[in-house]
């Protein structure tokens, strides 16, 4: 049986704009993935704990408040501490271009801003998922 890619779509931080996250979640579902959606206001600890319990291959973080440099890196740091660096982390939302290199260095494999076609995200995940 073909293994399904499991993706956690999470919104860290305090902004309440989840439309983008929901659209991406739907696109991933339509691409045959199992998407776990957890809702708003997740801490990095909650996101990583959910990733553990759900045994996901990918975490998609969506954030529009500007706190990505802190919160995205908190998630990748926690993953590293737990020995879960094999989980692919991608980000979306309002991420300025100049922040992307630092995020990549911190372990956020891909950043997808407004206007990204959903197919691009699907392809990126399929190509880069590690398990």
């Amino acid at each position: 049986m073909e293994r399904k890619i499991r993706v956690l779509v999470a919104k860290p931080g305090l902004d309440g704009h989840d439309r983008g996250a929901k659209i991406v979640a739907r696109a991933l579902r339509d691409a045959g993935m199992e998407v776990i959606y957890t809702g708003l206001h997740q801490t990095a600890e909650m996101i990583v704990e959910t990733a553990v319990q759900e045994d996901v291959d990918v975490i998609g973080l969506s954030l529009l408040s500007g706190a990505h440099m802190t919160l995205f890196r908190d998630v990748t740091k926690l993953l590293k501490e737990k020995g879960m660096s094999e989980v692919l982390v991608v980000g979306g939302g309002i991420i300025p271009e100049e922040d992307v290199p630092a995020l990549k260095k911190a372990g956020v494999a891909g950043c997808f801003g407004p206007g990204t076609p959903c197919e691009e995200i699907v392809e990126f995940i399929k190509k880069n998922v590690k398990r």
């Binding site: 339509d30 199992e34 957890t38 809702g39 909650m46 704990e49 319990q53 045994d55």
Partner: protein, 313 residues
């Protein structure tokens, strides 16, 4: 003893999660691990929660789990949502209502897609229950997909089955139809702050009066407003009473036996289907047979005999 199973027995969350994934993916390593797990499971009490879409199952389970936590019990939750029959993908959103349990290390929540199963469950749910059980959970709660009328498989695996209704779903004829209305050990009327609650309760009572004639247990109806944490303690009490009833009447053992029967059937079904439709050698033959059936050169019964004859002889 295998490494993964022994870590599961110690309650390690990552190992529990990984082994459940093995079950979902029908991994070749699964059987060896489950041989160990099976010996160490059977202690957890299993509560099934079923009901129509939007009846508040997830919120109810969140509150139930919190009530069990207050009693010091460890809780496992398996939340099932439908897999798309078209894309094979799924959007698993039950955790949204349970987010405050995420950081409680006495709670383990796993979301599952149905992956083609039709009875309201996922095929891996039997294994997942045993895994959570063996990992030290005292109670395992299963949330079925939002059901229609006939998705009754949860009754095969749960010790106590809750059927969740809400006011305003339809007239009395709905309550006398067969299927889901017949599997309740406890009826829960959720969203009891809404109008119409008296009507649905009265209709349920008349249903129960008729269906419980000659039986020594009357199915209780509990009114809850899960969102406001109302009626939850009553529900916990009723589940406990039902558990005592099962133990006293020895129905508990016969129900458990039925669970293992259903599990065995499911394992055989999965292996058989995989053998016929996934093995490369056989699959080609099956595909050509389907072509022949489409062209009326072959009928499906002869084809089935031929396929099964190849396996059974």
């Amino acid at each position: 003893m295998s490494d993964l199973a022994s870590k599961v027995l110690k309650g390690d969350p990552r190992s529990v999660a990984r082994l459940i994934s093995f079950a979902e993916n029908n991994s070749s390593e699964l059987a060896d691990e489950m041989r160990v797990i099976h010996k160490h499971s059977g202690k957890a009490y299993v509560v099934g929660v079923t009901g129509v879409m939007g009846s508040g199952k997830s919120t109810l389970i969140f509150e139930l789990a919190r009530a069990y936590r207050k009693q010091g019990k460890k809780v496992g939750i398996i939340a099932i949502d439908p897999t798309s029959p078209f894309s094979g993908g799924a959007l698993l959103g039950d955790r949204v209502r349970m987010t405050d349990l995420t950081m409680d290390d006495g709670v383990f929540i796993r979301s599952m897609g149905t992956r083609g199963m039709l009875g309201g469950l996922a095929s891996a749910v039997y294994d997942a229950v045993e895994i959570l059980d063996a990992s030290g959970k005292d109670v395992v709660i299963i949330e079925t997909v939002g059901v229609g009328q006939a998705e009754v498989d949860v009754v095969k695996i749960a010790d106590t089955t809750l059927v969740v209704l809400v006011p305003g779903l339809g007239d009395s004829i709905q309550t006398i139809k067969a299927g889901i209305m017949e599997i309740a050990d406890v009826f829960v009327v959720n969203k009891a702050d809404r109008s119409g609650v008296e009507q649905v309760t009265a209709e349920l009572e008349s249903l129960i009066d008729i269906s419980c004639i000659g039986k020594n247990r009357k199915i209780p109806i509990i009114k809850t407003t899960a969102k406001e944490n109302k009626g939850i303690n009553d529900l916990v009490d009723e589940i406990e009473k039902h558990k005592n009833y099962l133990k006293k009447t020895k129905v508990f053992e016969s129900q458990r036996r039925k669970r293992y029967e259903a599990e065995l059937v499911e394992i055989i079904r999965k292996r058989l289907m995989n053998f016929i439709f996934d093995e490369s050698t056989f699959k080609e033959k099956v595909e050509s047979m389907i072509d022949q059936i489409s062209k009326k050169e072959l009928d499906p019964y002869t084809a089935a005999d031929e396929i099964l004859g190849g396996i059974l002889k």
